[in-house]
Amino acid sequence: MKTKNLIALEGNQAIALAMKQINPDVVAAYPITPQTEIVQVFSEYVANGEVHTEFVTVESEHSALSACIGASAAGARTMTATSSQGLALMWEMLYIASGARLPIVMTVVNRALSSPINIHCDHSDAMGARDSGWVQLWSETAQEAYDNLIQAIRIAESVNLPVMVNMDGFITSHAEEVIEPLDDEEVKHFVGEYRPLRSLLDIEHPFTVGPLALQDSYFEFKRSQAEAYKRVIPVLKRVADEFSKITGRKYDLFETYNLDDAEIGLVVLNSTAGTAKEVIDVLRGEGKKVGLLKPRLFRPLPVEELREALSKLKVIGVMDRADTFGGFGGPLFTDIRSILYDVPNRPIVTDYIYGLGGRDVTTEQIFKVFENLENIYNTGKVESLVSYVGVRE
């Protein structure tokens, strides 16, 4: 057993370190709070000659992802990072990257979307991009974000799909945390050399990228793309197994906490899962059968596996850090509820929209959610399928 190399890093610094160790061919990025530090620290690595990366400074996120798409089509291992309005400005390019099957890897430091303007955490940015064809990994801690980013390279390049790694703005990106990074050599070996499916620089094999496809072909392209997501789950599991062999850290499609014998379950993404675990410990101490499921892979949605893990519960509370205005609850809620529709004696599923615009998520709020779920469990009655937690009433 080798000695652990523990260092204190902010989430953004951990991401920049992972990018340095991955040493991508091209990074095109534009700074935006709270992601700025990733670009800033990484650009120092570039200036110091610690990476061989071609760093493309651009005038907007639209250009950043456009440059990444060009670089990736040329056969370069390509990365970027953004937040909130930056991701929103990338919107049309997101679909082009996934449709063109380019394995670009991007960190998204989750931040609320305007308006009103706000720089703090919620998940409306990434949730707005949930149907864009990017694989989405979510991270509770800086360690998970670091580990996810390294694994994302392998996943992206194995399935030829772009991957975004999400972590909570400020809460994870700016909080200092003790993390255990891999050695540079270990990362280099783990990600390996990128061998693109095809490259525009390969003049022996010319091809056209991004042609027009009208009524007679667009549908076949999109149907073929839809199939590609089926390959993500087995690839993610294989990559996670390999990763755990060198780090001892185990990753899967989702993490469960006290879920096996639980009757009441909570489903929540990212850093709030950590707060929820504290609450679950207290409630377990009182003999209450409560547990947690924290999705790691949100797109593609691991439907079968989630159904298997959640179907035995009696009541499930989903916590969404994003609203779907005019829709039926948050995006996580509608997915989880839909997955469980065909289960005999399906659990009751309710939604709690919380923490918008960085509103602090306290243990009190989560205790309240469990209190509400317990009430539903005892009475079988649901007052409101979708409610808001932590907002001034």
């Binding site: 099957r101 042609p211 072909s217 076949e220 392209f221 073929s224 590609a228």
Partner: protein, 94 residues
């Protein structure tokens, strides 16, 4: 041209063969069709130079006719013809 089924599509929005636009027929939405009167044609090839597609068929430096599978009926060839050998005739009236 036989169009591939979705399982036969390449990964990515790509066309892997070079120069295959010829196989893809795009002349179906023409409203007016250029018709050549070969008795007037002087083989100056202005039509060939000006055609924004590649729909003027030329063999041995002689204008041979129109590739109707790709001609969209824009009428430029008819406009530039110095001897008025190309007239635009409404599709369906032939």
């Amino acid at each position: 041209m036989k169009l591939p089924k979705w399982k036969e599509m390449p990964e990515g929005i790509v066309i892997l063969e070079a120069g295959n636009a010829q196989e893809y027929e795009t002349g179906s939405w023409r409203t007016f069709r250029p018709v050549v009167d070969k008795s007037k044609c002087i083989n100056c090839l202005f039509c060939w130079i000006y055609c924004p597609d590649t729909s003027i068929i030329v063999k041995d430096e002689k204008m041979e006719g129109i590739d109707y599978a790709h001609c969209k009926g824009c009428g430029i060839c008819s406009k530039v013809c110095p001897v008025k050998a190309i007239s635009m005739v409404e599709e369906g009236s032939l």
